[in-house]
């Protein structure tokens, strides 16, 4: 019965599903072609050579520039995918059924609206999670090309454009869209409202996360591309770390153009060491999942209470 319900949910929403699955497959295939070419052609080695490039390198420069451009655009589209998948698959899910009156048919047949809600929502969320996870993996591979020296499991390189944050963001957006759809009951307004609310929710979570990270920031080791730099300080002779403003009060001569300047004091980057990447990523993902669960709960509550339209 679960399989039947899942299959029917996919059939009912097949247009959006085909669009998002198609976009995922296209993205994965294009990224795979680009990554394979960049890794096997030797182009990456060519652009890192400071001597006169070889004839072979010169010959692949034009194609290489295009491949790099495609990889760069693909990487920028990874976070966009989370929104696209969440909005397009989550938004119409409940809203369209209310809009077209099919919810009335379903609710008159089934005594439990929560069962109906679960039959609709769970398969779609699984699909959203699966597809966006695949895109997260694509993002991981693309970041590896652009940051070849990074130790990705312990690096903030490409933070938010790879890994587990892609599926959790997509689940958050989908859950918001589902809840908005249950409240509004109209497809187009749901899509627009869900887009705005998702952006606001994501920004709010991001701001809270950044504040938490700022409170946890520590001096970073020099020349580490794995760390997440958040701010900078100057080290005083007694070891204290101060901001530029604080330093200019302590030693006004740093503003004197003829003086020694702030370079007298060692510059120290502060932020989150790359070793905490998994922990910070997991924390943000968890917050997103909790907020997503709250929106799903709201959606279920509204479905249980509202008129079928």
């Amino acid at each position: 019965m679960i399989l039947t319900a899942t299959r029917l949910t996919y059939r009912i929403n097949r247009f959006e599903i085909r669009a998002i699955v198609g976009a995922t497959v296209l993205s994965a295939v294009v990224s795979a072609i680009v990554l394979t070419w960049l890794q096997r052609s030797g182009y990456v080695d060519c652009i890192n050579v400071f001597d006169t490039p070889s004839i072979a390198c010169l010959q692949m420069m034009s194609v290489g520039a295009w491949m790099t451009k495609i990889a760069s655009v693909s990487l920028r589209l990874v976070p966009v995918f989370s929104y696209m998948a969440g909005i397009l698959l989550g938004g119409p899910l409940i809203a369209r059924e209310l809009d077209r009156g099919t919810a009335r048919l379903a609710w008159s047949l089934g005594p439990s609206r929560i069962r109906w809600f679960a039959q609709r929502v769970v398969p779609i969320l699984i699909l959203v999670a699966g597809l966006s996870f695949a895109i997260g993996v694509v993002g991981e591979r693309l970041v590896a090309i652009f940051a070849p020296d990074a130790d990705l499991p312990n690096s903030f390189a490409g933070y938010g454009t790879r890994g587990v944050l892609i599926p959790t963001t997509a689940l958050l957006v989908a859950s918001i869209a589902i809840a908005v759809g249950a409240l509004v009951g109209r497809t187009m307004p749901t899509l627009l409202l869900a887009l705005m609310l998702s952006g606001a929710s994501f920004a709010a979570i991001h701001v809270v996360n950044e504040k938490m990270m700022a409170a946890e920031a520590v001096p970073l080791a020099e020349n580490s591309s794995n760390d997440l730099q958040l701010d900078s300080r100057f080290r005083l002779p007694d070891g204290r770390l101060v901001t530029y403003e604080a330093l200019s009060v302590i030693d006004p001569s740093i503003n004197d153009v003829n003086g020694l300047g702030p370079t007298t004091y060692p510059y120290v980057a502060i932020g989150i060491p790359g070793t905490r990447y998994r922990e910070v990523e997991g924390r943000e993902a968890l917050v997103q999942l909790v907020v997503a669960a709250a929106f799903l709960g709201l959606g279920a509550f509204v479905v249980g209470r509202r008129r079928p339209g």
Partner: protein, 299 residues
């Protein structure tokens, strides 16, 4: 007589407007009851309230012994519902609709539903979006019958159907209800169909029940007096309502005292009323004029 649908002092208000107020009626078990009334008289509101789609503002309802306000799921379990527009999933086949129903309702009889669809020569493999309005209504009815619910609520399912489709729909409905001993409440504007299919008549208007009798009683207890001036001579206690004939003549619907309904009627009582005239007469009497927060009879 066991009542399967009941309303006691039922009222429903949308914002400041009362759609229905003080409705008291019962639908007896095993009957096919017609629910008629002018547009906006609250027929759909009442039906939707019995299935738990609307919450009463005041009063109480019972659906097969279940209060739909307290136990909506229990009320849904008791009924099969056919709305005015079937609202099928346009991109699913009829077979998929039946499968969908089995996932939503425990005990849904897929074979029975498929049998009804098959009987009407509607292919199970056809997409719902390809069907005519009549066929979609039939599928809606087949799904409602597949629930094997003992109460069927039909909210103007005939409204958009052509005469042949209406006839086929009613044939399936009456056959199913009579053979299984079910109860059906059918709201409709098509009086000729009601006369053939139903055995009871409820007329809603003025925000409450204007008439609640068997079809036989409705016909026996009313007569029509023709002529524009005739109505003025009728005692007010006997006059139900006056309304124009299709030709423009003024007609008056009058009540026949019970004793006279049995024996020969005096000549001045006019001719026998058709069911349509009974309904129109009561609708004319109960024509509503809504004002904010109350309903009052038209002058």
């Amino acid at each position: 007589m066991t009542a399967v649908l009941e309303a006691h002092g039922f009222g429903k208000r949308y914002r400041r407007r009362w759609a229905l107020r003080g409705v008291d009626l019962i639908v007896p078990e095993g009957s096919i009851t017609a629910l008629v009334g002018p547009n906006g008289s609250g027929k759909s509101t009442l039906i939707r309230s019995w299935i738990g789609f609307e919450r009463p503002t005041e009063g109480s309802l019972s659906t097969g012994g279940v209060d739909p306000r307290r136990d909506r799921g229990g009320a849904v379990r008791k009924v099969g519902y056919v709305p005015q527009t079937p609202s099928l999933y346009g991109n699913l086949t009829i077979a998929e609709h039946i499968r969908l129903a089995t996932t939503l309702r425990d005990g849904f009889d897929a074979g029975l539903a498929a049998g009804y669809v098959d009987r009407l020569a509607i292919p199970l493999s056809a997409s719902a979006g390809e069907l005519s309005g009549g066929e979609q209504a039939q599928v809606g009815l087949a799904l409602a019958l597949g629930t094997r619910a003992r109460i069927l609520l039909l909210d103007e399912p005939l409204a958009s159907l052509d005469p042949l489709a209406r006839r086929e729909f009613l044939h399936v409905l009456v056959d199913a209800v009579r053979s299984a001993g079910h109860t059906a409440l059918l709201s409709s504007h098509v009086i000729t169909d009601i006369e053939q299919a139903c055995d009871r008549l409820i007329v809603l208007g003025k925000g409450h029940t204007l008439l609640d009798v068997s079809i036989a009683e409705a016909l026996a207890h009313h007569r029509v007096i023709e002529g524009a001036t005739a109505a003025t001579a009728i005692p007010p206690e006997r006059l139900v309502g006056s309304f124009p004939s299709p030709a423009g003549d003024q007609l008056a619907l009058v009540r026949v005292p019970v004793a006279k309904a049995i024996g020969d009627r005096p000549r001045e009582d006019g001719r026998a009323a058709t069911l349509e005239e009974v309904v129109i007469g009561h609708m004319a009497a109960g024509r509503v004029r809504r004002t904010t927060g109350r309903i009052e009879a038209a002058a």
